[in-house]
C-alpha cells in the first residue's frame, strides 16, 4: 500500500471514529440536567427594536418568531404549564415585524384566548392582538369573525360579539353569515344554536384540514350538549310520570319516551347515572365537552397543536 493510500485510509478512519466519539459524548452531555433556571425568558422584548435590527429583512424574522410562538405554545402546552408569560410578547414581536401575517392573529388569538387546558386563558390579550390585526388589515373579515368568536365563546360578552360580527359584515367580500350572526346574536346569544352557527361557518370557510377537524370536534361537543339537555328533560318527564327516576335508558324506551338507546357521536350509548344525569361513556374521546362529562372531569390536553385552531 502506497504512503498516500495509507494516509487516506488512516485519516478516513480517524474522521469516522472522531465523529462517532463526539456524537457519543454530546449525547451524554445532553443527559446531564441543565442548571439554567427558568428558560421562559425573552432577551429582546421591544418589537420596534427588533424590527430595526432586522435590517429590512423583517418578513423572514416574523416567520422565525411565528415559528417560535408555535414551538413555545406547543412545548408549554405539552408540559401542562401553568402560565404562558411570553406568549403575548412573542406574538406582539411577530405581528410588529409583519403586520400582515394574518395567520399569527388567527392562531395566536386561539392560543391566547381559551381557558386551560385548551389555551393560555388570556382573552384580553387575544382581543388586543386581533384589534391590532384589524388596524393593520381592515379588509380581512376573518379577523372580525375571530374577534366576535373570542367575545362570544371565551368572554361571553354577547353585545361586543354582535358588534364585531356587524363590523365584519360591512367588509366587502365578507362571508354572508357574519351579517346573520350579528342579527341572531340578540335572540340566540348563549345557546347552542349560535355556537353551532359559528363552528359551521368556521368549517365552511376554512380549507385547512386541521381547522375543519377542530370545528367538527366542537360541533360534536355541541351535539352532545343538545342530546344531554333533551335526554335529561325526558328523564325528568319519566320521573313526573312514574314518581321515580329510571334505572337506565332502556326503562325510558319501555316507557315509550325513547325509540331506542341513543348514541353519542362516537357511536357509544349514552349512560344514565343514578342521580338522573346523562353522561357519555368515554369523555376523553369527545374534546371540548361542556355537558355530558362526569362531575369534576378534567379534559386531557388536545393531542396535537393544530387541533386547537378554530
Amino acid at each position: 500500500m502506497s504512503h498516500t493510500r495509507q494516509v487516506t485510509l488512516a485519516a478516513s478512519l480517524l474522521l469516522g471514529a472522531c465523529l462517532l466519539g463526539s456524537a457519543f459524548f454530546l449525547s451524554l452531555a445532553e443527559q446531564v440536567p441543565a442548571n439554567a433556571g427558568d428558560p421562559d425568558v425573552i432577551y429582546l422584548r421591544s418589537p420596534r427594536l427588533i424590527k430595526r435590527l432586522s435590517l429590512g429583512y423583517d418578513g423572514l424574522l416574523a416567520d422565525i418568531y411565528w415559528t417560535r410562538v408555535v414551538q413555545y405554545f406547543g412545548a408549554r402546552h405539552a408540559a401542562h404549564a401553568s402560565h404562558y408569560r411570553q406568549l403575548a410578547p412573542l406574538l406582539a414581536i411577530t405581528t410588529t415585524l409583519d403586520p400582515h401575517l394574518v395567520v399569527a392573529y388567527q392562531f395566536g388569538a386561539n392560543f391566547l384566548s381559551p381557558e386551560p387546558p385548551y389555551g393560555a386563558g388570556m382573552a384580553d390579550d387575544a382581543v388586543k392582538l386581533v384589534e391590532f390585526g384589524i388596524q393593520n388589515n381592515p379588509d380581512e373579515w376573518k379577523l372580525y369573525y375571530e374577534l366576535g368568536f373570542i367575545y362570544y365563546v371565551d368572554m361571553k360578552d354577547y353585545r361586543r360579539a354582535a358588534e364585531a360580527f356587524a363590523r365584519g359584515s360591512q367588509i366587502p367580500n365578507a362571508h354572508p353569515l357574519l351579517k346573520v350572526m350579528a342579527a341572531q346574536m340578540a335572540q340566540h346569544a348563549g345557546d347552542t344554536q349560535m355556537g353551532r352557527a359559528l363552528w359551521t361557518t368556521t368549517y365552511q370557510t376554512s380549507e385547512d384540514k386541521q381547522i375543519r377537524a377542530n370545528a367538527l370536534a366542537h360541533l360534536r361537543a355541541l351535539r352532545v350538549a343538545d342530546d344531554v339537555t333533551a335526554l335529561e328533560d325526558l328523564v325528568a318527564q319519566y320521573g313526573q310520570k312514574t314518581g321515580q327516576l329510571p334505572k337506565n335508558l332502556a326503562d325510558m324506551v319501555a316507557a315509550h319516551l325513547l325509540q331506542g338507546i341513543p348514541l353519542d357521536p362516537t357511536g357509544r350509548p349514552y349512560k344514565l347515572t343514578l342521580s338522573g344525569r346523562i353522561e357519555v361513556e368515554a369523555p376523553d374521546d369527545i374534546p371540548f365537552l361542556e355537558k355530558g362529562a362526569p362531575p369534576g372531569y378534567k379534559p386531557p390536553p388536545p393531542k396535537n397543536l393544530e387541533s386547537l385552531a378554530r
Binding site: 429590512g56 418578513g59 416567520d63 415559528t67 385552531a309
Partner: protein
Amino acid sequence: MNTRIVHIASNTFREAVRDRVLYNLIAFAVLLSGAAILVGQISIEIEKLVVINLGLTAVSLFGVVIAIFIGIGLVSKEIEKRTLYTVLSRPVRRWEFIVGKFFGLAGTLVVNTFFMAIGVFGALLYVAHKFQAPDSWVLVALYFIILQFFMICSLALLFSSFSSPLLSAVFAFSLFVIGSFSDDLRGFAQMATGATRWLVTGVSYLLPNFSALNVIGSVAHGQPVAGQLIAYNTAYSLLYSAMVLSGAILIFQRRNLK
C-alpha cells in the same frame, strides 16, 4: 459598449467564477429546499411565506456578501499582484478599468441571482403545487435586489479604489447597515431644526437608501408593487450607482500608482 470595458468585465466575471463564487448556489439550494420541507412541520400555515421571505432574503444577503467581498478586492488586489500595471500599460484608460470591473461584478451577481431565482420559484412550486398571479411580484422584488447589488458593487469599488481590503469591507458593510436605516435618518432630519436639519437631510441623500428597494415583506403577501415605485427605484439606483462610480473614477484617476 467600449470593447475594452467588455473585456475587463468578462475577465472579472471569469475570475469570480474561477474563485468558486457560484458555489454559494449549493448552500442556497440546501437552505431553501430544507426550509421548504421542514417549515411545514414546525410551524403553522407559513410554508409559502417562508419560501418567499427566506428565498429573497438569502438572495439579497448572499449577493451583498459577494458584492462586498469581491468588490473590495477588485482594485486593491490588482495593485497588490501588480497585474494592474500590465493592464494599464496597454491602451486601457483608468476609468475603463473601473467601469469594466463594475460590470464584471454586477454581471456575476445577476447570473448568481438568476440561478437563485430559479431555486426560489422551484421551492414555491414545491410548497404551493401551482403558481398564482401574485407570485409574479417576486420577480419585482428580485429586480430591486439586483438594483441594490449595483449600488453595493459601486460602493465596494469606490472604497477599493483608495483603501485596503479590510477597511473597504468595514466601510461597505457599514454603509449597507446605515442604508437600511435611512428612513430613520429622514425621520431624524424632519424632527431637527436649523442647520442640523439641512445637514442631516444632505447626509441622508448622500448615503444609500436600501429600505425603498426592499419589498420582500409585501410581495410575500402577494401585494402588488406600484409601477411608479419600480420606475423611481430604477432611476434612483442607476443614478446613485453612476454617482458612486464617478467618485471611484475620480479617486482612481488621481491615485499615484508608482
